[in-house]
Amino acid sequence: MIYVVFAVLLWVSGWMLNVRLANGPHAQSRSIQLLVPAIFGLTILLIWELIVRGLSVPLVILPPPSMIAGRFAGSLPILWQDFVQTFVKGALSGYVIGCAAAFILAIVVDRFDFLRRGLLPVGNFMAALPIVGTAPILVMWFGFDWQSKAAVVVVMVFFPVLVNTVAGLRDTSDMQRDLMRTYGASYSQTLMKLRLPAAMPFIFNGLKIATTLALVGAIVAEFFGSPTRGMGFRISTSVGQLALDMVWAEIVVAALAGSFFYGAIALFERGVTFWHPSQRK
C-alpha cells in the first residue's frame, strides 16, 4: 500500500514541477522544452513500477519496467536477430523498393494529364484502405521468409508516396513555370531544377508517413507466418507463452526502430529542403 501512496505523491509532485517549469520565465528555452516531457515520461515509468509492485499486479498482466529493462538487456542477441529479420530485411528493403517504384510512377503519371486524373483518385482511395489485409495473400505467394514481408511493405508504402509525390509535382505556380519557359528550358530541365525541388516537402511528407507503415506492415505480416525469428513472430509466440516481459522488450525495439527511422528521414529532409519555411530557423 505504501508504494501506491508513494506513487500518488510522486505524480502530484512531478506534475507540480512541470506546471511550475511550463509557466516559469524560461519556458521557451530549449532545455526546459526537453526537460518537461522527460520528467513526465520518467514519472509515468516510476508510477508504473510502484503501482505494479504495490498492488502486486500479476506478471502476466503487466510486468514492471525494471523487469522489462532486465529482459531487454538480457536478451540482446535475440532482439538484434529479430530486428535484422524484421526491420533491415523486411521493412527497409520493402520501403526502398516501394518508395522508388512510387516515385518513378509518379513522374510518369505527372507527364500525362489523363493518367494523373485517372490514377490520383484511385491512389487516394487505396491509401485509405486496410492494405495490411493483403498480408496473407502475399505470404502465400512469396513464402514465409522476409521476401513476403518486404512485399507487404512495398504495397503499404506505395500509395501514400505516390499520392504525395504527384501532389508535390503540381506545386509550382504558373509564374515559375512560365519563367522556365522563357529560359527555353526543356521538360527534363524544368523537372530537375524547378519541379522536383519544389515537390520535396510533399515527397518527404509521404516518406515520413511510409516509415510507420513499413514497420506496421513487416510486423503484422509475420502474424500470418514467418521463420522462427522476427519481431512479429516473437511478439505472437511470447504472448502465447505469457512471457509479457519479452513482448514489452520487442515493443521497445519497435518503438526505438520506428522513432529512429522517422528521425533519420526527418534529418535527411532538413538537409534537402533547407530552403523551406518550415525548416528555417
Binding site: W15, V19, L21, A22, L129, P136, I137, I219, V220
Partner: protein, 289 residues
Amino acid sequence: MFKRSALPVLTVLGVILALWYAACVPMNSAWTAQQLARSGATMTVTETVGAAWSQDRPRLPAPHQVAVELWDTVVMKKITSKRSLVYHGWITLSATLLGFAIGTSLGILLAVGIVHSRAMDMSVMPWAIVSQTIPIIAIAPMIIVVLYSIGVQGMIPKAIISAYLSFFPVVVGMAKGLRSPDAMQLDLLRTYYASDAQGFWKLRLPASMPYLFASLKIAVAASLVGAIVGELPTGAVRGLGARLLAGSYYGQTVQIWSALFAAAILAACLVAIIGLIEKVALRRMGMRQ
C-alpha cells in the same frame, strides 16, 4: 465533368482489371500444367486460360470469382449465418465503431486539455507526436491476451485496440485545429471582453472543425485496421480478420480476397460517411461554399 474525372478513372480501373485477368494466367497455370502432366492430356491455349480463371483454389483468383464469392456471401446467405460476410463484417464493424467513438472522444478531451494547460501541452504533446512514429499495432496481441486472462473477451479488446489507434491522430489534429485561430481573431475576442469559455465555444471549437474531420478520416481507417488485426492473434472465429486468417490456414484464396474486398468496401464507406458529414457540417457552419 464526366470527361474530366470519370473517364480517366474508369480507364485506369479497366486497365487494372485487364492486368489482373492477364496475371491470373501465369499465376495459376502451373497447377493446370501439373494436372495435365499427370493425366497426359493436352490443352489448347484458350482452355488453359479458361482453366486459369476458374480454379477452385487459385493462387490468384480472377476478379469474377471474387465478385461471385462476394455476392454469394453478402447477398445470398442469411445474415445470421456463419458464412455470411455481412455477419463477419458487422462483428468487425461494431468493434471498429465502438473503438473509434472511445478513441475520438478521449482524443478530443486530451486536445482540449493540451490547448488550455501549458504544462500538459509541454508534457504530453511530444509523446503524442513520437507515438505516431512507432508501430502501435505491435501491442495488439498483448492487449487481447492480457484482457482475456482477466476475463474480458469478444468485442471490448478489439475496440480498445481500435481506440488506441484512432486516439493519437485525433489528439494531434485537434490540438492543431484548436490553435488555428490567428492572433487577430483572438485579439478581437479580447476586445469583446469574451471569457476563455466563450473563446473556446465560439472561436476555437468551430475553427478546429476542418482539422478534426481530416484526422477523423485517418482515425476511422486506422480503427478498422486495429479491429481486423485484433482478430488475428487469438485465432478468432468471427470477423473479417478471422476470415483472412482462416482463409490463409486452409488455402481458401477466394475467401481471403472476398474478405479483403469487404474490408476495403467497409473502409471506403466509413471514410465516405465522415466525408459527407464533413461536407454538410462545414456548409452549415459557412466554412465552405
